[in-house]
């Protein structure tokens, strides 16, 4: 099953989104929060994200959900630093919360990484009214 990593500047945002997503997740699904810095400060940490991707991977790849600015740069760097491992990871160009929920549902039914990413990106069109 495709794993999911949530990268926010805020530890609490990443954990909160994970909490919401878990409600839609299959039992064995790996969803890992990688928000904030190690000391809890606001920011993103490429090394923490890399470790989260390794944890989230069960062999089918990992979808990485990001918030703003440095979350994208750090996630890209984390994926680059995975080069010595056989893990396929991709960043979804999607709103972090809606995208994570959509990706979780798609992954939970066993869809491949490309489908999970496409579905997450489709969440951008989700209207609220």
């Amino acid at each position: 099953m495709v794993g999911i990593v949530i990268v926010s500047h805020s530890t609490k945002v990443a954990e909160g989104i994970r909490e919401l997503a878990l409600q839609m997740a299959a039992a064995a699904q790996r969803i890992v929060a990688a928000g904030g810095l190690v000391d809890g400060a606001i920011g993103t940490d490429a090394i923490k994200i890399k470790e989260a991707i390794i944890t989230a991977n069960d062999g089918d790849g990992v979808a990485v959900m990001v918030d703003l600015g440095s979350a994208v740069l750090s996630a890209e760097l984390a994926i680059e630093m995975l080069e010595d491992q056989e893990i396929v990871a991709a960043i979804a160009d999607a709103p972090i919360l809606e995208g994570t929920i959509a990706a979780t549902v798609e992954a939970s039914v066993g869809q491949p990484l490309s489908r999970v990413i496409a579905t997450a990106e489709g969440a951008r069109e989700l209207r609220k009214q």
């Binding site: 090394i47 600015g69 740069l73 750090s74 890209e76």
Partner: protein, 211 residues
């Protein structure tokens, strides 16, 4: 080797000493955390340097890059982190640094920043200080100048680049949300890049006088 460790300490000192100033500049058009973030990163670098025993210049720079990546937090973390890692690649396994290598390191660092940030000169970023600095450095080398002289030229060009960032609109990073309101303010990343080059230049000048 000792020189390179001293150079990293000089970088840490200048960033930490300018923590408030960088944050103030970033407050005008960004999210007011550049100074805090960079100082946190270089505090961590200083702590690592005190205990780590890197074997060569490449290992020193790699350690600096990895530390910045995981402790800075903002966009400058992956950007400067990538810059130091790419510079490390140029001097892997080496104990001594010469002017040619310094130029190659600067080129590799700038290449890394451009790639990571998907940015070019003229977007009100650190590249507006670093790219002219590199060109001036290479010009100095071609004219047969010493390392300290090349560094002086690079720093002057970076300073001019920093002034130039006041005249352009940000299209990258948090400042891009402000559009035209970013005019008249200098870029925080270009400021930290300039400060680091200036500090390294002072160090190089002092060492040439001693030598």
């Amino acid at each position: 080797m000792a020189n390179v460790i001293l150079a990293i300490e000089v970088l840490a000192d200048i960033i930490i000493a300018n923590k408030e100033k960088l944050t103030e500049i970033d407050a005008a058009i960004g999210d007011a955390d550049h100074g805090i973030n960079m100082a946190r990163g270089f505090e961590a670098v200083r702590t690592k340097l005190a205990t780590a025993k890197p074997d060569d210049i490449g290992a020193v720079l790699k350690m600096v890059g990895m530390t910045l990546i995981s402790t800075v937090g903002g966009a400058s973390g992956p950007l400067y982190g990538t810059a130091f890692m790419r510079a490390a690649g140029v001097v892997q396994g080496q104990q001594v640094l010469n002017s040619d290598k310094a130029g190659q390191m600067l080129a590799a660092a700038i290449g890394g920043i451009k790639e990571r940030g998907k940015a070019v000169k003229g977007e009100k970023t650190m590249l507006d200080a670093l790219e002219p600095a590199y060109e001036a450095f290479q010009g100095g080398l071609a004219a047969g100048k010493s390392l300290a002289e090349c560094m002086e030229l690079a720093t002057a060009a970076a300073q001019a680049g920093l002034e130039y960032t006041k005249t352009i609109i940000a299209t990258k990073g948090r400042a891009s949300y402000l559009g035209e309101r970013s005019l008249g303010h200098q870029d925080a990343g270009a400021t930290s890049s300039y400060l680091m080059l200036a500090a390294l230049t002072e160090l190089a000048k002092g060492q040439e006088q001693e030598g």
